[in-house]
Amino acid sequence: MNRGTWLLGRLAQIVPSFLFIGVAVFVLARLLPGDPVSAMLGDHATDATLARLTAQLGLDRSIPVQLMQFLGGVLRGELGDSIAYRIPVARLIAERLPATVLLTLLSVAIALALAVPLAFVAALNANRWPDLLIRFVFQIGLSTPIFYVGLLLLTVLAAWAHLFPVGGYGDGWRAHLWHLFLPALTLALSFAAVLMRSLRGAVLDVINAEFVDFARSKGLRARVLLGRHVLRSAMIATVTLVGLHVGSLLGGAVITESVFAVPGVGRLMVESIFARDYPVIQALTLVLAVFVSLALLATDIVQMWLDPRVGR
């Protein structure tokens, strides 16, 4: 099998995934307790208004027809209107998405800056004190909930030391980065713990691998060995890990945005739950799941490019 065929096969896999995501979100929306129309209009709506909105939303048709209409709407980018904001959901999400994307990217950058060097230090000193110390600290990091880390950073660095704003998003991209630093650090700390653990294992595997023994027996110096062979394999492992964790990062963003009042899609999701804004919840679940599938696809493509074994 050559790489082109492999890539095409991988791209084809995304179609059933998207279909499943669409059907799952539709089923989720149908599980709503009670009738969505009365939930939208409240208790005081007249029967005529109820019937009109029911027909307008297509809820008087059969379930398969509704499913096809829903999927067709999604393909055209029509996600319905928000009940709370009274604007199209697609526009609402487009307004809120940049903050979340920036937060996630920033946190990945911070997490990599923390985890990659520390993973190397830990792996090269395996089972000696630097390794044990790093692993102990990150073990505590793994057991600490994101909202608690956020609250601690907020209290110490924002409220006491006044080094950072206590929340919000600011105006202009420099202000955005400034406001998002603490939330991104919060998200990064929990991700760095996961990343460090797996990366340390990956580096250890490579150091103990036969091809490294071979290179060493050829007389390659340690630095060349580390740079050329170990780093490359570790990079493949890192890309895979980042890709696999986009989902948990987005889940973490929901919590972080709530702690720091960042106007992103995560906070929108929590707000929509309390506002019973079901079209928004439905669309966000869809958008985030599609986002994660695309991230996994991108990961596989980057991996193919980095790792000569993939797709051959």
Binding site: P16, I21, L31, P33, T144, T155, G251, I281
Partner: protein
């Protein structure tokens, strides 16, 4: 040594929490619900080691009282996925065929859903609360257990003792329940212990967001959310429940790591 140190430390921590969960009233210095208007938002002191909240309730006593709910969350948010996943994994691993192929595709797709986002979406539909949270976690979390169990069952199915049991003419149900399951269940149970640490994180996160345990209930995430409103004036409110979550999480993951090394289970 590599197994006993984490296992011992983990079990010690968990025992302490278990005692707190069973007899909180004998350990807590104050009534967790007792208002004290003479000591509103009192700083940590000899009388109130972790301070008091806006109603003068003792934070330490509330944190101890909450361990009952949080251990319950750890147990039930693990048990639902464990039971559903194990049954499905056992069946598709043993029978294979189209059900196995379908499971493989379904599992691949479910893991692409962001776990917490999906749990939150399901809680949103069902309504906030502990029971709905267990249902939501079970709907999403079973896949990991099913994958683990399926892999183990497929290994055991090749074993000589299974062939012997077949020759003896035992029924499929008997082979599965009496022979395959006991041999395949070990890695699943070890994972379940580690998973309880994740369950506490998920449960307290939903509690913090207001989607899990509901406010009059003392739950660590809910207690921390209470403290958020006073984080500039009374930051001590969130300290004790936060430390409790970290310790409980450490307890479960150390116990899990220890068991994994002791039983020589490979991930």
């Amino acid at each position: 040594m590599r197994a006993w140190l984490p296992l011992g430390t983990g079990l010690l921590i968990l025992t302490a929490f278990l005692v707190m969960a069973v007899i909180p009233e004998s350990i807590a210095p104050y009534d967790p619900l007792g208002f004290d208007f003479a000591a509103l938002l009192a700083e940590p002191s000899a009388e109130h080691i972790f301070g008091t909240d806006q109603f003068g309730r003792d934070i330490l006593s509330r944190t101890i009282a909450a361990s009952r709910i949080d251990l319950q969350i750890a147990l039930f948010a693990m048990l639902g996925p464990l039971l559903i996943g194990s049954v499905i994994g056992l069946l598709v691993g043993w029978f294979g065929g189209w059900a196995d192929a379908l499971f493989g595709r379904l599992a691949d797709i479910v893991v692409t859903f962001p776990f917490l986002v999906l749990v939150i979406a399901i809680v949103a539909v069902l309504g906030p609360g502990l029971i709905n949270m267990y249902i939501a976690v079970s709907c999403v979390g079973w896949v990991v257990y099913a994958r683990l169990m399926r892999g183990e069952v497929r290994i055991q199915a090749q074993a000589d003792y299974v062939a012997a049991a077949r020759v003896l003419g035992y029924s499929t149900a008997r082979i599965l329940l009496r022979h395959v399951l006991p041999n395949a269940v070990r890695p699943v149970l070890v994972y379940a212990v580690t998973d309880m640490a994740l369950a506490i994180l998920t449960g307290s996160s939903l509690g913090y967001l207001g989607l899990g345990a509901q406010p009059p209930t003392a739950e660590w995430g809910v207690l921390i959310a209470d403290g958020r409103n006073f984080f500039t004036t009374a930051p001590w409110i969130s300290l004790a429940p936060g430390v409790a979550i970290v310790l409980a999480g450490l307890g479960f993951s150390l116990t899990g790591d220890g068991l994994q090394a002791l039983l020589d289970v490979k991930r």
